[in-house]
């Protein structure tokens, strides 16, 4: 069964420009992917790989110094980059929503949980305060918060970290969005609380046929949650494809090294495969393939020519001269 395409990103390029326009940081370069209704895509990368800038570009929530200089973002058939800010406001929080890493920073400490969960309903749907609060209680139940009648009157500081992040989840799904973008949603949570949260997101996804984008540095989350994955390095997608295929047959040396560098439970205590060097400074990227200074199998032309995307399997592409 083919699902309708929900989000289509083509050649998206976002740069940060310094105040005088002299320094340009190429945070996101020529990124393309599609996401179908109800699917989960993982976007994996290290700090500085551009994954968070990519997420903010999709929602058009970029800081003033950032510019989307090329590409298109089509969401439910509409070009988001052509929208005016007022139109975007009707989309954000209603048709696409976002969950950030730190729930304490995304919740307002001065308002009760009920006010904050009810706010999107009142803004987007014009619901009365009373019925918005009723629905807020229902939403708290949906994110498995016990005693929602009591919790709606709590302030964020009265809740644990896991509960706060579930509140953020309740706010995100309050208007029944089609797409939820989660940027490192569980990094600040403990292991068992992370497991709770991930299974909750799965349930919500099934119940509401949500599409999910997980922005993460953690391949374990991708393995657990995602259908497809895009691996980013230095602002570009270096490999993308179905999750199983990427884990079984990673074709880009960076993807392979990432997978091999992670210790596995219950395996012999050998040495880990380390990736030499460090991620490049996004303001001063290496020429050619940005990974070439760290690549264990680099070719001569990797230092000078940038590899193009090559199809290496069903829905599986990589940008590497080994396959070019």
């Amino acid at each position: 069964m083919t699902q309708p395409v929900l989000l289509e990103v083509h050649g998206l390029t976002t740069h940060y420009v310094s105040a005088r326009g002299t320094r340009v940081t190429r945070a996101v370069q020529d990124v393309s992917f599609t996401l179908n209704d109800g699917e989960t895509l993982g976007i994996v990368g290290e700090s500085g790989s551009g994954k968070s800038t990519l997420a903010l570009s999709l929602l058009r929530l970029l800081p003033p110094a950032a510019r989307i200089v090329a590409g298109s973002v089509r969401f439910e058939g509409e070009d988001l980059l052509a929208k005016r800010e007022t139109e975007m406001r009707h989309i954000r929080g209603k048709r696409m929503a976002m969950i950030l890493q730190d729930p304490m920073a995304s919740l307002n400490p001065l308002f009760t949980v009920g006010d904050q969960v009810a706010e999107p309903l009142r803004v987007h749907e014009g619901t009365s305060r009373r019925s918005a609060w009723d629905r807020a209680r229902g939403l708290l139940g949906a994110v498995r918060i016990s005693a929602p009648d009591m919790r709606v009157r709590n302030y964020p500081h009265e809740l644990s970290g896991g509960m706060r992040q579930r509140i953020v989840g309740a706010i995100a799904i309050s208007c029944g969005p089609r797409l939820l973008i989660a940027d490192e949603p569980t990094t600040s949570l403990d292991v068992t609380i992370q497991a709770q949260y991930l299974s909750l997101l799965r349930e919500l996804q099934r119940a509401q046929r949500l599409a999910l984008i997980f922005i993460t540095h953690n391949l374990g989350i991708v393995a657990r949650m995602c259908d497809a994955v895009a691996v980013m390095y230095a602002g570009r997608v270096v490999e993308a494809g179905p999750v199983r295929q990427i884990f079984n047959e990673p074709r880009h040396p960076y993807t392979r090294a990432l997978i091999e560098s992670i210790p596995r439970l219950g395996e012999a205590n050998g040495r880990l495969t380390a990736i030499e060097g460090q991620p490049p400074d996004p303001a001063a990227l290496p020429t050619g393939c940005a990974f070439h200074p760290r690549c264990p199998v680099r070719l001569e032309k990797c230092a000078t020519e940038r590899p193009r995307d090559t199809i290496v399997g069903a829905g599986h592409r990589t940008a590497c001269w080994l396959h070019g």
């Binding site: 068992t192 497991a195 709770q196 990432l258 219950g266 380390a274």
Partner: protein, 329 residues
């Protein structure tokens, strides 16, 4: 063989001041009757969620906190009986590397001064000797000698953590406390640091107390693992045994909650309900009984004791009937 470090019945309570109208004095029972052993050249991994007491345990080992009760023995000698000179030697022998190398290095000092500081303050050495030791430890952590002239901000996160490790090595310690040493680092850098720590352990015969929330990393690095919950050790034993065949329901849930390394890796979906209770007022009986999927009636009244089950220690009534543990204890 005498263990390098032995903790016996360690307790650390932090009193909580009551308000103007008082009420009974309360205490956060951060560490409550914890015992463990670290062998020379071996790694003990401490795992558990926030509030379980693993960092307080590390602070007790580092003498940054005084235990409320219990003792630590190093090389067979109790720290409580050591004189000032003995304690000074202990502090030389036990060093620490912390989580955030952006916070643990003084930004106004050159790397050489940071690394040599423990030597300069602790030993009377000539400048030449200090320089030689500095080059030696930089070499051990694979940093170039010219790194000594630079400031911390000129280094990446992974290199800063190498600097922190070099500083810990200058006094030739025998035990290093590693409190989340890689969790602030990029994924591709973590393996470098973990490999470096393993190499150093082999070359220098170091023992580690390794604290991390990344269970796979702890299992990878450790010879022994102790699992803590609300100030107590609930399960302890050989790393592979505990990680692959956990017995305590909490350990099972913890390792089941660890993220898979492959999408086909099947794990029992064992999702714990609720949050970790407050250590101010831990549940009676077994502290885990409020979240335990296999809870029994007497779990809320009788506290289980650690007992050997299938080659590791477990504190759970499932394995030791309540009456038997009372008789044995």
């Amino acid at each position: 063989m005498t263990p390098l470090l032995e903790a016996r019945g360690l307790v650390k309570h932090f009193p909580v001041r009551r308000g103007l109208f008082g009420g009974p004095e309360k205490a956060v029972r951060a560490v409550d009757d914890v015992s463990f052993v670290i062998e020379p050249g071996a790694t003990l991994g401490l795992v558990g969620e926030s509030g379980c007491g693993k960092t307080t345990t590390a602070k007790l080992v580092l003498l940054l906190e005084q235990p409320t009760a219990g003792e630590i023995r190093f090389d067979g000698e109790s720290l409580a009986t050591l004189d000032a000179e003995g304690l000074r030697r202990y502090r030389h022998s036990v060093q620490a590397v912390f989580q955030d190398p952006y916070a643990s290095l003084n930004p106004r000092m050159r790397v050489g001064a940071i690394i040599a500081e423990p030597l300069v303050t602790n030993e009377k050495l000539s400048a030449a000797e200090v320089g030689a030791r500095l080059r030696n430890v930089l070499d051990l952590v694979s940093l170039p000698a010219r790194a000594a002239e630079l400031f911390p901000h000129e280094f990446s996160g992974g290199q800063r953590q190498r600097i922190a490790i070099a500083r810990a090595l200058t006094l030739s310690p025998r035990l290093i406390v590693l409190d989340e040493p890689v969790s602030a680092l990029d994924v591709s850098i973590r393996a470098q640091i973990l490999n470096l720590l393993k190499d150093l352990q082999r070359e220098l015969g170091l023992a580690y107390l390794f604290i991390a929330h990344d269970l796979a990393a702890v299992a990878h690095m450790s010879h022994e693992i102790a699992v803590m919950y609300l100030g107590r050790v609930v399960e302890a034993g050989a790393a592979r045994t505990v990680a692959t065949q956990p017995r305590h329901p909490y350990t099972k849930a913890l390792f089941a909650a660890a993220l898979p390394s492959h999408p086909d890796e099947s794990r029992d979906e064992l999702v714990l309900a609720g949050d970790v209770p407050s250590p101010l007022d831990p549940p009676s009986g077994c502290r885990f009984h409020t979240r335990c999927p296999q809870v029994m009636p007497h779990c809320s009244t009788d506290e289980p004791k650690l007992a050997c089950v299938d080659g590791r220690d477990v504190a759970c009534h499932l394995y030791v009937p309540a009456g038997a543990s009372k008789a044995a204890g």
